[in-house]
């Protein structure tokens, strides 16, 4: 049974972990932007599945994965724009609209799938991977980490882009101010609604790309309810990360690895029900929270619509 854990297999497990982590990473980074700016974006699951469906539709009909991601970003952005208009501009309850969008888009995409694909179940060809020279030849780690589609590397790079944006740019300051004290941002001459709108739209685009990745590369096909709660995991990741992108990355990897662990243990023939293994990451996080349960530093204005000059 030792022979089972060949390099190839370990490589595949890790590869799987990364593949599973990418959508969570994108969702988490996206959600983080909204939360920084004071919007609790519960609609992200809906944005993801919209991106998954539309991204697949585009990729399938155009034959180009990149157009697919563009389509996914677009779809996610459009859903987000609804949220932006209703929750940011008009200040409607973010939870009502968020859950509403999620339910609606899960239903709608399932409906469209039924009308379009339920007889043919079209599938995409394998995504071409970009093997990074030298690195990709490292045993186990090479194939696991350095033989992915370009979008994966971009997703990881985004972590550092976001760190830069939050720490070093005016936009980063604006986002944080919009979340911690919108009135102060407003009187400083920056349009709070505009800033939060930008944040929500970015969230939608990233969630959409995450969904597109899930359908086009993760599965190679769209099936109803394919996101399976990944969006909600994204929300959890973003909140746990307390505004720090790196933690989103680590969190996403933790979940990805625990999924691969499930497979590994089974393949090793260890007779544990999957439900038990599924609990590991959540247990881990809860234990962390109990151990270092510091006051969670969420933005002061999170979930509170901004109305200029209101008392």
């Amino acid at each position: 049974m030792g022979s089972l854990f060949s390099e190839v297999f370990l490589g595949a497990l890790l590869f799987g972990a990364v593949a599973a982590a990418v959508p969570l990473l994108l969702a988490g980074l996206g959600e983080q932007i909204s939360e920084k700016s004071g919007i609790l974006n519960i609609g992200i699951e809906g944005m993801m599945i919209a991106g998954a469906y539309f991204g697949f539709l585009v990729a399938y009909s155009s034959g180009s994965l990149w157009l697919g991601f563009l389509g996914g970003a677009l779809a996610g952005g459009i859903v987000a724009s609804v949220m932006a208009i209703l929750c940011v501009r008009l200040g409607l309850n973010q939870i009502v609209i968020g859950i509403g969008l999620t339910l609606g888009l899960e239903g709608l995409t399932a409906l469209l799938h039924h009308v379009q694909f339920s007889r043919t179940y079209p599938r995409l060809p394998a995504a071409d991977v970009l093997a990074i020279p030298l690195l990709s030849d490292i045993p186990v780690l090479g194939p696991a980490l350095f033989r992915h589609h370009l979008i994966v590397y971009l997703a990881v790079a985004l972590v550092f882009v976001m760190i830069y944006v939050y720490r070093r740019t005016q936009l980063g300051l604006n986002l944080q101010a919009a979340g911690d004290k919108p009135a102060a941002l407003d009187v400083a001459g920056v349009d709070v609604v505009r800033t939060r709108t930008v944040a929500v739209l970015s969230t939608g685009a990233l969630a959409g790309i995450g969904g597109a990745y899930l359908a086009n590369i993760g599965a190679g096909i769209f099936v109803p309810f394919i996101t399976n709660g990944a969006g909600f995991l994204g929300i959890v990741l973003a909140m746990l990360a307390r505004g720090r992108p790196v933690w989103v990355l680590l969190g996403a990897l933790l979940f990805g690895i625990s999924l691969s662990l499930t497979t590994a243990l089974q393949v090793a023939g260890i007779n544990i029900p999957t439900d038990v293994i599924q609990m590991i990451p959540f247990l881990a996080v809860m234990i962390m929270l109990v151990a270092f349960g510091r006051r969670s530093s969420l933005p002061a204005a999170l979930g509170i619509p901004y109305e200029r000059g209101a008392r």
């Binding site: 959890v236 038990v276 969420l298």
Partner: protein
């Protein structure tokens, strides 16, 4: 969210206000139906026909409306639990986990108990077990919130993910019914379940649900305890300043909210389902959470919205089958209704302010 709840003694005359609310609900629903109708037309279905069936089954047909009312029971309990939490500023998004564990607890105990004691006693014990388990499940988030200020949205979401898995493990491994190969708990015989109202198929859970949500409403709006919870929710520092025991109140809120979610599970199992099957998760919370917000955390309004949800899901299933639309369209319909209602709410709010100046 406090600001939306009306303060002690409102000026407007209640009847008039009722009518106003009613119009403010029916109007948007009509608009929502029209929007959803366009989608139906797009996929080549006659909306009128579809809605006809929804109304007929969900609302008009005697047996149909009985189903509608029965399905309300667990949602009413969940709504009650959410109202307590949200009014106290606690974002308990973990109701689904608490619900499932309550369900499993009652399903695991009731059949065995009913075999050895009068069913009414078995039911009571099963109910209290469900309550206890659900409360216990909310203890960790409660303590973390009360003493470490750890945000409860994260912890309750986590505990829900955990709770769903745990419920499955329990069903598949611990409380498995030896009598069948199907992974499910023992089944409570129909005759031992909660009695049905008169000679209908309506579960008496409906009455319990109504009692629960009205009780909660009165508690939050009329009692000192409710006011204390609302103070904690609206401004925790003011609560400290006023000498309220914020940690203990916080824990109380979690306990009550989770208990009601657990009762929801028990009511569903002991009133209707009879057992819990592996991987069963109706996720009522997802639909009820927006509903209670639209009801402005008002118990009576919540009853109305839960009824609406119930009509749509029962009627939607029927209509979908008769017309050959996928049942997932019901989701779309519910979503559009929720969103349009929210927008109408806002428009009205604006109009009222404009008038007051």
């Amino acid at each position: 969210m406090e600001s939306t709840t009306t303060p002690a003694g409102t000026v407007t005359d209640p009847i008039q206000a009722m009518i106003h609310r009613l119009l403010l609900t029916l109007g948007p629903i009509l608009i929502a139906l029209i929007i959803a109708g366009l989608i139906l037309i797009a996929i080549g279905v006659n909306p009128l026909e579809y809605y006809g069936y929804v109304i007929k089954r969900g609302l008009l047909s005697p047996t149909g409306v009985q189903q509608t009312l029965t399905r309300m029971a667990p949602m009413l309990f969940i709504a009650a639990g959410l109202i307590v939490a949200f009014r106290a500023g606690i974002w308990n998004l973990g109701v689904d986990g608490q619900f499932l564990l309550g369900a499993v607890a009652s399903a695991a105990s009731a059949p065995l108990l009913a075999a050895v004691m009068p069913s009414w006693l078995a039911l009571i014990i099963a109910f209290s077990l469900a309550t206890t388990v659900a409360m216990a499940w909310s203890l960790l988030p409660a303590l973390l919130k009360a003493y470490h200020g750890v945000n409860e949205i994260i912890t309750t979401l986590m505990m829900t993910f955990l709770g769903v898995s745990l419920a499955n493990v329990m069903v598949k491994l611990v409380f498995l019914d030896p009598g069948t190969t199907v992974p499910q708990t023992r089944t409570l015989p129909v005759e031992d379940r909660m009695f049905r109202l008169f000679d209908t198929t309506i579960s008496s859970g409906l009455l319990l649900g109504l009692v629960a949500i009205i009780a909660v409403h009165l508690m939050m709006t009329r009692t000192a305890f409710g006011l204390k919870l609302r103070v904690v929710g609206a401004n925790p520092r003011a609560a400290v300043h006023s000498g309220l025991g914020v940690p203990s109140l916080t824990i109380a809120v979690f306990a009550i909210s989770a208990a009601l979610a657990g009762l929801a599970g028990a009511v569903d199992i002991l009133g209707v389902q009879g057992n819990v099957r592996a991987d069963w998760n109706p996720a009522y919370g997802l639909a009820v959470i927006p509903a209670v917000f639209l009801a402005r955390l008002n118990g009576f309004a919540s009853i109305g919205f839960v009824f609406l949800l119930s009509v749509l899901s029962i009627g939607g299933e029927s209509a979908a089958r008769r017309i050959g639309v996928p049942t997932t369209f019901t989701l779309v319909l519910i979503a559009i209704v929720l969103i349009v209602l929210a927008i109408a709410e806002y428009a009205d709010h604006r109009y009222q302010n404009a008038r007051r100046t």
